[in-house]
Symmetry: D2
Subunit: 123 residues, 4 copies
């Protein structure tokens, strides 16, 4: 994931150039990330699920920008906390595979702790 | 960003194996993404900014998992909407560079539309 | 709205008894409120709109708890910022009536700044 | 809480006049509520906790508007799901009193399930 590491460096320079590092505590970055996630939700809130699958070019362009903002703040946070996102995602996929075994969850959207397994506390 | 494209394929298989594609409309995925973003916020909500910069190994591990969940839903959404995240991020960085020129914003956290520029509306 | 003012006092006592006031800065309370709002979203994220209109008693009970949590943090924030919620809501309804005149918006979910009006900046 | 019930009626009329009821499924309203909660977070994201306790009149006015928006969507949802908010809040306060007994939690911001109690799972 050289590209992500490269993006992290690029975004660090962007922040440095603007003296923004002082605002970028992990706490503040988590807030900014959730705000961008909600701006993404806002694009979809009055659409039906079907409409959300058939966005106009203008709608898609707005959605793309909000997705990029989420990615940007996620990478800023990863920089601040020294997290390698590729590694983190791969570890989480492994955990999820254990939490949601195919034979138990197929076709169901229930949360894993609704299957009566003995898993540890939720996330 | 071959790694991200590879992750997208891996996550698609994960969803296919569980017959979860039916739940993964862009609308629903945007909701799930924002829920994960809030679980990240929850890790920080009662911490000071300074504490958020000095997480214990347990706290960091929990934060990493939530960051991975955000990344996972973002990639699921990217799959559903045929968005290339690397391209989207690069385009957004270019836009941001225009919105936040170094000489105007250095050391300030104001939103770009608070600088009196002539930029179009934003959200 | 004597009841809301009474609730505010009751919640202040609850926090005082637990020495929680130290954590309840407006910044932190806004985070907690948004986390609860997302727990509400989580109840609905994999439901269709129709299913969300026909909750089981268990689902409704969970939703009610999350709604109460949102209300509680909103009142905590109102206490900290000396905001009278009834007054704030009434003022906002008046603003909204100007932003969304019936003859312009009937049957449409567009945001007011998509109607080509000359309104001031958005919120 | 006659005032809240009166507000609910007022907001129902506002929606009826604009033919907005069609968009106001519980699912969609939960999304809109969380978007407003994030607009509230946005007001605070780059402020220190101390700054968040000393808002300028302009900042406070913006915050008030967002708080009102959260309250409005919460009441809309309460209307759609036939929830009496005063009752819901009082029930939740009773639950919280059991989950967070004064002698166990005083001065701590830990989540109740971090105290080693026997409570059932929570989110």
């Amino acid at each position: 994931m050289e590209e992500l590491e490269q993006l992290k460096a690029q975004l660090q320079k962007f922040a440095d150039d603007r003296d923004w590092d002082q605002f970028h505590s992990p706490k503040n970055l988590s807030m900014a990330l959730s705000v961008e996630a909600s701006e993404l939700v806002e694009c979809f809130q009055w659409l039906t699920e079907e409409q959300s699958q058939n966005l106009s070019p203008e709608q898609l362009s707005a959605v793309k920008d909000e997705m990029a903002d989420v990615q940007i703040y996620l990478l800023r946070l990863a920089t601040k906390l020294n997290v390698n996102m590729l590694e983190a995602v791969n570890q989480k996929i492994e955990k999820n595979a254990l939490k949601y075994p195919v034979d138990k969850v197929k076709g169901s959207s229930k949360k894993y702790n609704q299957y009566g397994s003995n898993d540890e506390a939720d996330s």
